[in-house]
């Protein structure tokens, strides 16, 4: 690569691209050329930086100065001041919530400080579209080692000893899965990478593929060598256009360099990868439904009398691993199982990537050692709750997971502890909720999602989830009855027991966990016809507090129903018959005069 004095690492993850990263790139290139700096300073597009809340973000190397929330109009000043004259622009730096001084360096920002990167090891340091960048950071050395100095048996032993468990949700030991597939002799075996990330609010897998596609390719090739497979398949949803594009490009580059194809690294090992685009049904992330989808059948789970590692895709031994699991494998091979096993808790080794979203200040992608507490993730890394409201709950594990209350904030996050608490690790979605979130409404939201996404094969899931949705909707609408809570619990248990796949088996979790920790909210809805968080429209009334209202008319001007009346500089009133409870008046009021009851 040409010699430059400065690399501008501009995030090109989906979040930053949506916020105009490519317009920033064009503006940077234009301004650099204006100052004749194009031969001194390079603009490098990277994968997701993780700090999505502040996008578009830019990290200046070598100094490590972090700029955020960039707009095109900032660029001329930034280029002249910092990149030409060497004076960093503090106005574009990150100022932590509740502080006044901006923090110039990325490594000093709390969001980044507490993270430990393994799956995201190349985050922001490489251009995902250049295989040379990946190699320069130690890429493909794990594969080289696996092929030239290890037997397949030794590869499996190394992965087993590392304690790596599946990052897609269930936490099955990866080494055991590989060993089973290796033990079944067959002319053809498959390695499938599950990139059908379906949980609302989850984007770990997308970001890994976008930011470091070769890590996944290398992990798949190592898995192929270990179990004796020469065919890999990535099942990825079509809603991930940037990930798809970078993955396809990476596969082409790997073939060109002989890192995929026949005789990899001059050995007798052959391996190639094809990409299968899914249409984005939640159920396709389930192993047997995914298999059916690839085989051209409707994506319905089937009963697993035999393991997929014996008879999987097209009845051949098949290993199905999640994106993050595969991305970690090259590091384990290169650095050894002891290194990996030294990180994490007794039964959950290594790190886990979470997508931290919801009412948290620093939303984004974080990777922490297993055993990090929820409090550290939400408050130290996430910066706490937006608008200084108070924390109410965190939903882990996606729709199959559960909501955990503030009394569990000090829970160390690992597979066992989350399951004990009534939630699950899942693929790593983490949705933070504040005091203004109604837990009954949240349960309703997830049930609605699951009702839509149920494949319909098992009656318990198809009809049971639908009835649960109706019951919870009734409670939100103020039509709840005393018997609804025990009925929900009974039905939830029935859906768990009588559904064939894990999606049905976990579908009642959002209801059961909110009933476990937030039962009083259900009771308030049913007995007092009151929504304590002020969310469920049928149960709330907006009013204007005459003591606080200044008569500025801001609410009246914004009300889509023209339901607010009153004279200027006099307290306003809301005509309840017209009010649709959209909450705009409350959002715009500068005096906190609009109350919800």
């Amino acid at each position: 690569m040409k010699t430059y004095r400065m690399h501008l690492m501009l995030c090109a993850g989906t979040g930053c691209v949506s916020n105009g990263a490519y317009r920033i790139k064009a503006a940077l290139e234009r301004e650099l050329a204006n100052h004749n700096l194009q031969d001194e300073i390079a603009v490098v597009m990277t994968g997701c930086n993780g700090f999505c809340a502040q996008g578009p973000v830019l990290t200046v190397r070598p100094e490590g100065i972090f700029y955020q929330l960039l707009t095109e109009t900032d660029i001329p000043h930034l280029v002249e001041e910092h990149f030409l004259k060497g004076r960093p622009v503090s106005r574009l730096m990150f100022t932590p919530p509740a502080q006044e001084t901006p923090v110039p360096k990325m490594s000093d920002i709390g969001f980044f400080q507490k993270q430990r990167l393994i799956a995201l090891r190349n985050r922001g340091l490489i251009d995902p579209e250049r295989v040379e960048d990946y190699i320069a950071r130690g890429g493909y050395r794990g594969l080289a080692k696996a092929l030239t100095s290890m037997t397949p048996r030794e590869i499996i032993e190394e992965v087993t000893k590392s304690g790596l468990r599946g990052r897609g949700g269930a936490g099955y030991p990866t080494g055991a899965k590989w060993e089973s597939a290796a033990s079944h002799a067959s002319d053809v075996k498959y390695i499938i990478c599950n990139a059908d990330e379906g949980d609302p609010g989850a984007f770990m897998d997308r970001s890994i593929i976008e930011g470091d596609p070769h890590a996944v390719i290398e992990g798949m090739a190592i898995a192929g060598r270990a179990v004796g497979s020469s065919l890999g398949l990535v099942y990825i949803r079509s809603e991930y256009p940037i990930a798809l594009e970078r993955l396809n490009l990476a596969i082409r580059q790997a073939r060109e360099y002989g890192l995929l194809g026949n005789g990899i690294f001059g050995t007798d090992f052959n391996f190639d990868i094809t990409v299968f685009r899914g249409a984005g049904a939640f159920v396709c992330g389930e192993s047997s439904a995914m298999r059916a989808s690839i085989e051209g059948e409707p994506p319905e789970p089937s009963s697993k009398h035999t393991h997929a590692t014996e008879k999987g895709l097209w009845d051949k031994p098949t290993v199905l691993n999640n994106v993050e699991t595969l991305a970690v494998v090259p590091e384990i091979i290169q650095r050894g199982s002891a290194w990996f096993a030294s990180i994490g808790t007794e039964k959950s080794k290594g790190t886990k990537v979470f997508s931290l979203v919801g009412k948290v200040k620093n939303t984004g992608l974080v990777e922490v050692p297993m055993g990090t507490t929820l409090r550290e993730i939400i408050f130290d890394i996430g910066g706490g709750i937006q608008g200084d409201r108070s924390f109410k709950a965190v939903q882990t594990g996606g729709p199959s997971g559960g909501c955990l209350p503030s009394s569990l904030l000090d829970l160390p996050v690992d597979y066992e502890r989350l399951t004990e608490a009534g939630s699950m690790m899942g693929s790593g979605g983490m949705i933070v909720m504040d005091e203004d979130t109604c837990m009954v409404d949240i349960a309703r939201y997830f049930l609605e999602f699951l009702r839509d996404e149920s494949c319909g094969k098992c009656t318990a899931c198809r009809e049971g989830v639908d009835v649960m949705y109706q019951l919870v909707s009734d409670i939100c609408a103020g039509k709840g009855e005393e018997g609804h809570i025990p009925l929900l619990e009974e039905l939830g248990q029935a859906v768990k027991d009588a559904s064939m796949c894990a999606l049905g088996g976990t579908a009642p979790n959002p209801v059961l966990s909110t009933l476990r920790y937030f039962r009083d909210e259900y009771e308030s809805h049913i007995r007092e016809h009151r929504c304590p968080a002020g969310v469920c429209k049928a149960l709330i009334t907006y009013r204007i507090d005459p003591e606080r209202c200044t008569g500025c008319l801001l609410c009246a001007r914004n009300c889509p129903q023209e339901a607010i009346t009153g004279e200027r500089r006099k307290p306003q009133t809301i005509e309840q018959a017209k009010c649709i409870k959209c909450g705009v008046c409350r959002d715009v009021c500068k005096f906190e005069a609009v109350t919800v009851q």
Binding site: M1, K2, T3, Y4, R5, M6, H7, M9, N36, D39, E40, R61, P62, E63, G64, F83, L84, K85, G86, R87, L125, E132, D133, I135, A136, R137, G138, Y140, R141, A144, L147, T148, E256, Y257, G258, L259, G261, G263, F265, G266
Partner: protein, 127 residues
């Protein structure tokens, strides 16, 4: 493209070494060219170009080239400060492209200060 052998990985990594050490921020030497209006008018941009060429030709890594504002001694521009890890910074003044080449070879790579072009060793006192 020829198929890679395991040993080729090192060659590719080597060709990217300077870029990577720059991104990782690992440097043993930091060269700061003063780019105030006075510096630019006196030819600081040419000094930077010459330094980049030195870096390219020598293949050295761990050398960080950066800029800063006016150093306060406008009459002696172009100026640059050379900081080697563990050593006091050295300010060079009245630079030309030829002088820069010599400083790069002798001081940055060789560790010997070029005394005739050096203004001072050490930083100003700050209160």
């Amino acid at each position: 493209m020829a198929k890679l052998r395991p040993e080729d990985l090192d060659g590719i990594a080597e060709s990217m070494r300077r870029a990577m050490s720059l991104r990782e921020g690992a440097g043993r030497a930091r060269l700061t060219v003063h780019m105030g209006t006075c510096g630019i008018a006196a030819g600081a941009r040419k000094i930077m170009t010459a330094l980049l060429r030195c870096l390219e030709e020598s293949g050295a890594s761990g050398v960080i080239l950066t800029t800063s504002g006016c150093a306060g001694l406008c009459s002696r521009e172009p100026m640059m400060t050379v900081e080697l890890v563990g050593e006091a910074p050295v300010k060079y003044v009245d630079l030309t492209e030829d002088k820069v080449k010599r400083i790069f070879t002798e001081h940055v790579l060789g560790g010997r200060i070029v005394r005739e072009d050096a203004l001072a060793i050490g930083s100003e006192q700050t209160v």
